[in-house]
């Protein structure tokens, strides 16, 4: 597994290489929350179930990360870990553990405005799943 951050001038993004699609989606979600709250202070306190769909795998990845960002902003929660993640046709169902934002414990560093389609890719190459995502900060 590889995670490499992109040195974008105004925003940020990452490239992920993973052995499976499940690992790639899991790592992408957990890395996104490291951008928001980089300290190791997020505890897996509450279990939550999410389902997300997308017409293509790339769109599914954008929608998955956007869904998590939406829950972060509207429910004031941080992703602690992805517990289970299953793909079915053009959708995914996930069980995640989250922590309520507590500014005494959590240092929120970066607001992600959106997950963009700019230079987005998700492909299988030489036995690895590879993706690039750029966020608007």
């Amino acid at each position: 597994m590889l995670v490499k951050y992109i040195d974008h001038t105004a925003d940020t993004g990452f490239i992920i290489h993973a052995k499976s699609l499940k690992e790639l989606f899991t790592v992408a979600a957990e890395e996104m929350f490291k951008i928001i709250c980089p300290d190791d202070t997020i505890k897996p306190k509450t279990k939550k179930r999410l389902t997300v769909s997308g017409d293509t795998k790339e769109e599914l990845l954008v929608n998955w990360l956007s869904e998590l960002n939406y829950h972060f902003e509207t429910q004031r929660i941080l992703l602690a870990k992805v517990d289970t993640l299953e793909f079915e046709n053009r959708a995914l169902a996930a069980t995640i553990y989250v922590d309520n934002i507590d500014l005494e414990r959590h240092s929120l560093e970066t607001e992600i405005k959106a997950v963009t389609y700019h230079q987005l890719y998700l492909k299988k190459e030489e036995g690895l799943w590879k993706a690039q995502v750029i966020f608007d900060l």
Binding site: D7, A10, T116, Y117
Partner: protein, 476 residues
């Protein structure tokens, strides 16, 4: 000469039409700025914009251009209403991110020992930081009313005066806003975020007029040497981000439906006159209005704070407020004919020249005021729009200093430094929600805004009026 850019004059360089470009790209900059400009993907993005259907004239880049997503930041493009497109990527996620410049009846010396308490009180009153929410909670019906009224909603609810509206682009309300085109998700994200600053490069900056370049124009604007000013820079918060996200999904499908060939999916778009195009413009107008209202409320709270610290005789008046991320149908003279086009400004500012009906009566003789914020340690500029900008760039100019270091590089440069102390030694009080944000926003992360302003001034797109120096900054 840099790469394949051809010098048109000392402040304008052209990337010739190649490949699928319908028009050339034009970058406004001084020659010494080109190295920085060509270092990232921004010029490629300007070329990508030139490939979009129905683009008129040129794909423009202002001197603060840098790598964005889809359009470059600092990009301006106009599209024919019959053959052209509208693209949410040409506006960005932070729809109507913009700035308001406020003047006061205070002079620099009146601030004196009140500086720290004033900044502390402003920081306490104006909600800021990642995912910040404010004291105003909107139900769905009220939120929809706000989306159609813009800054007027704030006035009607006791935040400011009727006369403030005249000093806001579009008078603080874009027509054609249609709240029924807004998703529940966008309403949910917006319901507790009105009257919040947010984070990243958004800020409130207290400053003073340090230098006046054009005394006649400064007098019309009411700017005097050593006069205290306030700048509010924020946008449409999560509401606007969600509107853009929702419509990018629609536009991805529209791009296929209308067989539009794109060099970057983030440029997804639809013909301006298509149902998708019209709906986007009406939904975008809701976010534009959310943002106008947001800055109006924050400005009103700022006045309360000033009065609580410095006395009830303190007055704050808007000089002008401009949008940085917007698409609008505007009439421009093209090859001698008046033509309506859809102008996208992404990280660029409208800068209409004198006698334009869209600018306030009080500013008819001088042209539209434009505020160009610099970085938190240096200076900002007040400019005015020109007739030349009307002829060359659809009445557009730059919007800020423009980043030159990535956030990662900026954080590295800020390591082991006490930024708060550094600024304090320069006489600037910094209030920041996180050290990380402050690190990302260090002065050296940005181009020198003087270079940017000199380039637009040299190109004749704007006139320099005054320079402002910061005294205190709130970063989200």
């Amino acid at each position: 000469m840099q790469r394949n850019a051809v010098k048109i004059n000392d402040f304008c360089f052209e990337i010739p039409k190649t490949g699928n470009m319908h028009v050339p790209a034009r970058i406004y900059a001084s020659e010494h700025m080109l190295n920085d400009i060509f270092q990232d993907n921004a010029s490629e993005q300007a070329k990508n914009v030139a490939c979009l259907p129905g683009i008129v004239g040129y794909s423009f880049a202002m001197p603060d251009i840098h790598w964005g997503y889809g359009f470059p930041i600092g990009g301006v493009a106009g599209f024919n209403l019959e053959t052209g497109i509208v693209s949410p990527g040409g506006v960005g996620y932070d729809i109507n991110c913009g700035v308001r410049l406020i003047k006061t009846n205070l002079r620099r010396q009146d601030i004196g020992n009140h500086l720290k308490p004033l900044m502390k009180a402003l920081y306490k009153r104006i909600p800021s930081g990642v995912g910040s929410t404010g004291p105003i909670k909107l139900n769905k019906k009220e939120e929809k009313t706000l989306l159609t009224k813009g800054a007027r909603w704030a006035i009607e609810n006791g935040y400011g005066n009727e006369s403030d509206l005249d000093k806001i682009e579009e008078n603080g309300c874009m027509a054609d806003a249609e709240p029924d085109l807004i998703s529940d998700r966008a309403l949910e994200r917006g319901k507790a975020q009105i009257g919040t600053l947010g984070s990243g490069n958004h800020f409130v900056e207290l400053g003073f007029v340090d230098e006046i370049f054009d005394s006649t124009t400064a007098q019309v604007l009411g700017l005097k040497k050593d006069g205290v000013t306030l700048i509010v820079h924020t946008g449409s918060r999560g509401f606007g981000h969600q509107v853009c996200e929702d419509y990018i999904k629609i536009m991805l499908k529209a791009t296929q439906k209308y067989n539009i060939d794109l060099p970057d999916r983030q440029l997804c778009c639809a013909p301006v006159r298509s149902p998708e195009g019209k709906n986007y413009l009406s939904a975008m107008a809701c976010a534009v209005n959310f943002s106008f209202c947001n800055r109006q409320i924050i400005s009103c709270w700022a006045q309360d704070v000033f009065r609580s610290i410095l006395g009830s005789s303190v007055e704050l008046y808007p000089v002008y407020e401009v949008a940085h991320n917007i698409a609008k149908i505007e009439e421009h003279s093209i090859e001698g004919a008046k033509v309506s086009i859809c102008v996208h400004r992404k990280g660029a500012t409208r800068a209409f020249g004198p006698n334009h009906p869209a600018i306030p009566q009080a500013y008819q003789q001088i042209g539209q005021p434009v505020l160009i914020p610099g970085d938190m340690g240096r200076y900002s500029y007040v400019l005015t729009g020109t007739e030349k900008a009307m002829k060359e760039t659809f009445g557009s100019t730059c919007h800020g200093a423009g980043r030159r270091l990535s956030r990662k590089k900026a954080k590295k440069a800020a390591q082991n430094r006490n930024l708060f102390k550094e600024l304090e030694d320069m006489g600037i009080v910094l209030q920041a929600s996180s050290r990380a944000t402050a690190s990302e926003e260090i002065s050296e992360a940005y181009k020198d805004v003087t270079d940017v302003v000199d380039a637009v001034s040299g190109a004749g797109l704007s006139n320099k009026v005054a320079k402002l120096i910061p005294l205190g900054v709130i970063k989200g």
